[in-house]
Amino acid sequence: MIRWLITLVLAVLTGFGSAVWLGGWTPLDPPGLFRSIEINDWTSDPAIGSETADPYTRAYVARRGLLGLRREEATYYIRAVDDGGAPLREDCAYVIEGEVPDVRWWSVTLYAGDYFLAQNGDDAHSIDASRATIGEDGRWRATIQDTDPQDGSVWISSRNAGNFDLLLRLYNASEAVLETPETALTVPDVIRLGCRGEGAS
């Protein structure tokens, strides 16, 4: 009887635990999910919102991107590391820069570790196509750090964000961006300028 009871408890724990992990409902990233497209550390999955999504992708999106739109309306790319592969941190400063994508509208938004906007009162959570200034080199730029750089650049505040991630939204992307993003989409770079304690910020 005891053996059966132990078997029952272990099976329920194993089944439940593996499901919440592989569905992305724990802080640990499940293997493979949201990585069917990967371009310079930006990852995406064309099955977001789709009726054809597998149950794991559906569970993942429900936890980390509920009510995301299907790809014909919008596509989403996420990254949580800088160009050197280090996690994005509140106590570091970054420049994000990129080309104008072939889409109707785009934005990049910073989210804290709980997948919500950082609670900092700075009203500086994103950059979007309407506010980006395109430089002579054809690229837009913004500064990501926990204080306003006050240098005229667009500021995305990381104050109170802890370890954060960035979400690139692409609305009504061109057919090329949808079908062959690896060649048709030039994703933004995220360059770390320095971190507190390293002598630069």
Partner: protein
Amino acid sequence: MIRHILAFILLAAGVHAATIWYLPRLAMNTAMSRLEAQGAGLNTFIHVPPTDETSRRVVRPSPDLLYSVCLLDLSEGPVQIHVAGWGDYVSLSLFAGNTDNVFAVNESSGEGDIAVSVTNGDGADVDLGSERGIAIVRRLAPDAGRIAAADAARRSGDLCEPE
């Protein structure tokens, strides 16, 4: 011993499959409950205030979009939705109870306004595939001027009601 191992595998697999199936529905029910707790009624639009750091009902809200939400209950029949065009991006998206985005359209595909009827089954423009779900209207409003214009448009022209 063999019987215990077989029972473990079968039970663990069953619990795993049931949990994976249920998690999206849990997320959807939780989101709908939060919206209802905030005063959202069924089959009527709630015009969500401009997104900021206090927007914590649904993960990853965009601060550059103005949202309106209608909690759909199709148990009594179809619901009709009308979304007013306002000269810039506006979309209507419909989400089933399992989180699938079963329908999405924006103003560029028509005359500016969007009008659809939704039901659970055949007989309307869109089959939601479930009795309950969520309709979301997104308007591009990245600054105060656009927010004011989008808010005026939605309050004067958006409609979600039983047929």
